[in-house]
Homo-oligomer: 888 residues x 2
């Protein structure tokens, strides 16, 4: 007996048995859509009869070189018979044909996958039977032309524009504005045109045999899994390529059977704000694709109440039932056929970050889910968008007064963005990815093959479509600010420009969009950060997260302002204060004098001048972090970095003095071929200990002063770039001596630690030796990744690294997410070796990875004590740390 | 009972028992000199009675804050009594005083240690007794002034020049040339002056009490172990700092008791050539220091036969006995006192590389040692000096004809060297180490505190001293070419110049010295390499070495000439052919055209032009290595390296054409901040596969052509800079396809491998993954060390690395010797991971370390299959591999 490749919707029990009752496995087998259709059927929600071809069949088809696996087609024919029996109609019956829809459905929702094909089963003969039976020739011929158009474009790969041109001509010829105004005869003509186009483009006729139609549609879905669009989407969304898609074949129901019919899509809560109200669009007398494609402007779902009151009531009940069943916001599609409601799809609703947080918190309060679930419901990266820049309200007001407001439309995905207008996805990608421009992609509406441009853009604006249009869904998912349905924006793709309220914006002109409010402006507008304190739901959620996480979250902050902000965001310490950032501005000339000093006297004079600056910086830092640890890293970059401006200046100048010439020569002699592997970090400390001694003096003077003022100071001195324990052996005692001398002078003792960064592979490899001297480790994963891979942080992304990620040579950019196999192996080794010497050694991470959720999970897994990240990533890290603890 | 701190020479049996009969432990306990004195005593060779204070006592003294350990001094007094008894004299007896010498003696010979103090036991009173007893007042007072002088400078740290000035004055005043011409009264005056100097300089009188003298001398030896000179020497020679020194206190015998007395130093074979003849210097009527210090010109040892025939015969017998006993060339000191021969010291003789090889081979032929011992007798690094450059004999003849020959003197340490003259050690060090100049250090003679300069110099020339002078011994040990006793060279240290045969050479002028022949020339002379084929002893020794080693030795060769030379030296394959070296000279413009090509067509046209060049290179290589494997590395450096000259040229030029301006912009756009971690190696292959495909085509066209011509070709293609297995996954199949296509075109198959370098830390960390694709690994330890340490190979030595080695932060330069703890840990990991996937994977090393003996030992220990080194290092590596196998 051949394998079971097909499941009727009512066979879910059997499917569950087959996969040991695990919902995730049902979803893997049937795809999300198929699994949910089966689940709804099981709990008594009205779903049109149908069946699902499994994802395993899809994979088997691809593996066999595009051949159906053994027994599949026979099973599909049997399933069709079961549907015929349930509906009392025959597939291919010329008089009362059973019509079917065909949809793809993978484990994870994928807008990049195949579009729906509707009305399968119609042909030149049965369309007439349908017309007679329904006594509605317009409906029948409209249905038939839809089948031919969808089948042509989706299954037979004919350019859809060719069909759209015919439609436009037909409307013009008939002197009507919308498709629904065309009559049966006109649809007949259109359909004939469509069939000619198919024949011309593909050399094949549109298949008249319904069984042939369903076979080709099934194959088309299978093939779409490995189409470019789908692969691109999976790459962007991080979905595995070996899951396969299911094929859902379902009895057609018709929302376009007159004004007692309709169709719609809705969310059980507002996916933008999270408010607990039904949210969505519907269209009366239409089929679902009209709503989803965003080509017709829709009505709000609430308006359905007056048009179709009974159906609406039923719909509201079903939404409640679904939320109670799935314990999640649902994104549903439905059709009302002649007053009867049918649910065509349900799935967990994609939502904005803000909505995700609010829904999670609300559902706890509604006793639908518990705190753990709530914490896991919000992706750490989503929290980041809540702290995204927004336009300065004052600047927006000014812009509006100046007549720069272009549109106020649907706020489809929050956040503010500005950039140059690009009118197609390829250009948006070229400008955004290759030329590094900020781009706003502007389109009438978007389609799955626009996704590459949308991902490369800072923001998206469409003149058509609603909150559930393709553009809106994709933008929300990827956190790209987006406005849709901006009907005031008149796009002229031929002229490559749009006009709004009399303002003409050409391709390449700068506009700003506010995805939170739905506003678009011409020109650039100042941005500000949102206030964390006002986001009470987020604060609640993060407090719950704190209950579950084991990792502490510290922040990288170089000044008291950043330290204070970090603390406000929940940071439990400063994991990295980069002292070299304190050597710029008015201090730079002194720093330069120190570096260029010839005699020891001049040098130490300059150092003496720098000391008070550093001390006051540190005082502010200790004050802001009262009671919490502050790790201060000693100077790290090569000294010539401080001389670059001076060098440029002198090179421009004519008639240099002898002294200036000497300075030029000195700076040139400091040139290094590979400065990242040069004289920096502790190497500088060893070769020129004066600087780091000054810094340690400043740290301890500040610490003692603050301690005397009643502040609880916890200074920790971090020595960077150690590769051999002897570097610490030689320099750490000298620095500890300075610390002790200062404390003796000040007559007060503070508790302190001396530690090191682990950022050189050799330090990781010999961490046991280093742990004998260093009192803490902080992983400098930026440099560690740089050296472990041999990828220059300054160059690699521009020369090959992004191409490597594109080509899938690397799964991710190792400067964004810790490479667990390589860099991670070194980290793990360090942890084990370090703890073998000093079980209580404090271990943390202060590289950029400290704010990356995947990397945070890794830090949790290898047992670090804390992650330290940029202030704005602290909330993200708090949530990510909780996820790491809950998921492992 | 307190520990035994003192051993009489005749107590060696007890010493042996104490240390379980292990000679090495006896040497560790008593120091080399003490152990050998005891050993000679034991086998009946005449040694003046005496005893040794142990190295343990020295360490205990230092540990206790410069206090004799408990019981030591009492034991020393007892030992003195035993000597008194043996000699029938009393220490401190005013009429017939027993006189003693005091010498340091560590486990390893250390010219940096304390000088000898002689004649201990004399004072103002006993000197008169000695004069009466010997009826030789001149001898007595000369002996006394020697004690005061040595004691003053060595024990009491008075500047020796102060004493020398007095001597010079005394000679001038007396109108004599040599010290031996001064009479008793004159020595009395000198001695009185000496005592005044001591009082003035130290505030203390010269101690009159003999027991006090011996106590202070013992302490001085202990202290000298931690003196700067000794520490510097140990650092340079790689001797551990915790060994301590012994103190040898021995009855004085006098070589200066008239013409029936004498003293000398000798080697049992010629330490420069290895010839089996007695070699050395002696002086009649003199004490040993006169010979060793090189201040008096000595007689050849053979001349002793006529002066002291009986003693000479006895001496020859003893030398034979010693060689038979120690199975090694001996370096001995002796004194003849009134016709009776006393042996004062024996030790294994330091010798030149050439002598080491000859002696080892000869001793096997003489059945003194076996082949294993012979192989272990020659240090691998010594072999290198045998292949050292020598002056082109023709160029030397021309120079001589042109009157450039400055001197012909003692050929103390072989090899040719040229450089600027520096007249003192500090300057030699500054110029040599800090400024990177080639320096020839020129001195009248050298002392231990000159060693830092000698090590920084390319060569050494002294106007005084003999083959066993300080300069000669040190130079030989460290392989620095050296000429001594060049009495034609008149040095004027005040004028900072010398004059020889009318030629005046000022400090900073260039001279050339030939340490093999003893010639010195003004100016620079062309150098050539010695012929390996003529060095039959070396060839024999290396053949013996081959019997013991497990590691194969391959060579790095980029052209057929180098390949042939490597093969002549015994290479068993080419481990690295760097193809980019083939892109210079006439090929460079084509390469540049290829890199700068805008269209794919231009690029592939340039590649087509490069192909025949590469093919013909490879053909030559395969021919030279007929039957042996040849690993060819695909292009490795960043492409902009090929454009640097062009860029400089264009930047100089005015009025650039539009095309040239474009070229400048293109080159500038290729700039990388850290090119070592940039777009190079396989990254280049991935981004621009055309180049490597061309190279693989050239390799296989060459291989097929040669195979057709009957050559046994074994091509192995090496892909550099792999960090992630996916890089191989994407590029290796493309290259294998090219290989297969070429073999199909040529109609012949050759066996081949595709492999990779392990030079990125991540590759080492994931070697198991990489071994699934790569068929061989070759460790690129240059890059691996660079990235593991984060030390730029281009910059680090100039900025901090040498200082790190100086400061002992690093034990050695990791670019010279593999850092076993860090880089080595990665290599070990790679070996284990690689073999876990493919137990037969071939593992080698092709970095510079492949020719470094210590690193070769490490490669042996971790189980590599071969080391690959530069052609001239192949013999070194063969020997080092044998040592590694024999020692482990």
């Amino acid at each position: 007996m051949s394998k079971k490749w097909i499941y009727l919707f009512e066979e879910v029990e059997e499917a569950e048995k087959y996969v040991d009752g695990k919902w995730d496995k049902v979803r893997a087998l049937l795809g999300g859509k198929g699994a949910n259709l089966a689940e709804m059927t099981r709990v008594g929600i009205p779903v049109p009869p149908g069946f699902t071809v499994t994802t395993e069949a899809c994979n088997a088809y691809a593996d066999a070189g595009e051949q159906f696996p053994e027994g599949m087609w026979e099973q599909e024919l049997e399933a069709l018979k079961a549907v015929e029996k349930a509906m009392g109609k025959k597939f291919g019956d010329p008089e009362n044909p059973l019509l079917m829809s065909c949809r793809s459905g993978a484990k994870f929702s994928m807008p990049g996958m195949m579009d729906t094909v509707l009305n399968i089963g119609l042909n030149d003969v049965s369309v007439e039977g349908l017309a007679k039976l329904t006594e509605d020739a317009r409906f029948a011929y409209d249905s038939y032309r839809r089948l031919v158009q969808m089948f042509g474009s989706v299954v037979m790969n004919v350019e859809d524009d060719l069909f759209e041109h015919v439609l436009t001509d037909a409307r013009e010829k008939a002197g009507v504005k919308t498709d629904s105004e065309l009559n049966a005869e006109q649809w007949k003509v259109v359909t004939a045109e469509f069939k000619k186009i198919i024949k011309k483009e593909t050399g094949t006729d549109f298949p008249q045999e319904p069984i042939e139609q369903i076979k080709l549609a099934t194959e088309a879905v299978f093939k779409s899994w490995n189409g470019k669009r789908a692969i691109d989407y999976r790459n962007a969304a991080g979905i595995a390529h070996d899951l396969g898609t299911g094929v859902n074949i379902m009895t057609m129901v018709f929302g376009n059977m007159g004004n007692n019919s309709g169709t719609g899509v809705a969310f059980t809560r507002d996916p933008a704000t999270g408010e607990n109200i039904l949210y969505g669009d519907y269209l009366i007398n239409a089929q679902g694709e009209d709503v989803v494609a965003g080509v017709r402007n829709t009505e709000a779902i609430a308006d359905m109440k007056k048009d179709l009151p009974e159906a609406f009531k039923h719909f509201v009940d079903i939404c409640d039932k679904l939320e109670n069943h799935y314990k999640e916001i649902q994104d549903v599609e439905f059709t009302v056929e002649d007053g009867k409601l049918w649910m065509l799809q349900t799935r967990d609703g994609k939502r904005t970050a803000k909505a995700a947080v609010k829904i999670a918190v609300d559902m706890v309060n509604e006793n639908l889910i518990d705190k753990k679930q709530a914490v896991l419901r919000v992706a750490p990266e989503q929290v980041n968008t809540l702290l995204h820049p927004q336009f300065d309200p004052k600047a927006k007001k000014v812009a509006a007064k100046e007549g720069k407001l272009l549109a106020k439309a649907v706020n489809a995905s929050p956040g503010a963005a500005g950039g140059v207008v690009a009118f197609d996805a390829d250009l948006a990608e070229t400008w955004g990815k290759e030329e590094g421009k900020n781009v706003i992609m502007v389109r009438p509406f978007t389609r799955p093959d626009d996704v590459h441009g949308m991902l490369a853009a800072q923001g998206i604006l469409t003149s058509e479509g609603g909150a559930t249009s393709h553009a809106a869904v994709v933008a929300r998912q990827f956190g790209v600010p987006c406005i849709v349905g901006a009907s005031d924006v008149k796009i002229d793709l031929n002229k490559r420009q749009f006009e709004a309220h009399g303002v003409v914006v050409k391709e390449g002109d700068y506009i700003s969009i506010d995805g939170t409010t739905g506003e678009a402006f011409v020109g650039e507008i100042d941005m500000i950060r949102p206030e964390f304190e006002e986001q009470t739901d987020l604060i609640t959620l993060l407090e719950w997260a704190d209950e579950f996480r084991r990792l502490e979250v510290w922040a990288n902050a170089d000044n008291p302002q950043d330290a204070q902000r970090s603390r406000d965001f929940g940071a439990q310490g400063i994991g990295l204060c980069r002292t070299e950032h304190m050597f710029f501005e008015e201090r730079l000339p002194i720093m330069q004098r120190m570096i260029l000093a010839i005699g020891e006297e001049d040098r130490s004079k300059a150092l003496d001048e720098l000391l008070p600056f550093q001390r006051s910086d540190f005082e502010g830092l200790f004050k802001a972090m009262d009671g919490l640890p502050v790790i201060i890293r000693l100077v790290d970059p090569p000294l010539h970095e401080f001389l670059e401006g001076l060098y440029e200046e002198l090179k421009q100048k004519e008639n240099l003095t002898e002294e200036e010439q000497q300075t030029v020569r000195t700076i040139e002699s400091m040139h290094e071929s590979n400065p990242m592997m040069g004289l920096r970090g502790i190497r500088l400390g060893v070769m020129r200990p004066g600087i780091v001694k000054m810094q340690v003096r400043a740290i301890f003077e500040a610490a003692c002063n603050m301690a005397k003022a009643g502040i609880d100071v916890k200074p920790e001195v971090m020595i960077p770039l150690v590769g051999h324990v002897n570097e610490l052996n030689i320099i750490q005692p000298q620095l500890e001596e300075v610390a002790k001398a200062v404390m003796a002078e000040k007559g007060i003792n503070v508790e302190y630690l001396f530690g090191t960064m682990i950022e050189i592979p050799r330090a990781a490899l010999t961490a046991d030796e280093i742990a004998k001297v260093a009192q803490f480790f902080s992983f400098g994963t930026n440099d560690l990744s740089q050296l472990t891979y041999g990828y220059s942080r300054d160059d690699a992304e521009a020369t090959f690294l992004l191409a490597y990620v594109d080509k899938k040579i690397l799964p991710t950019n190792p400067f964004q997410t810790i490479d667990r196999d390589g860099v991670g192996a070194l980290m793990k080794m360090s942890v084990e070796k370090g703890r073998s010497i000093n079980p209580d050694i404090s271990l943390g991470i202060c590289g950029e990875h400290g704010g990356d959720p995947n990397s945070i999970e890794f830090c949790h897994l290898i047992g670090l004590n804390y992650v330290s990240c940029s202030p704005f990533r602290v909330p993200v890290a708090r949530l990510a740390a909780a996820h790491a603890a809950l998921n492992n």
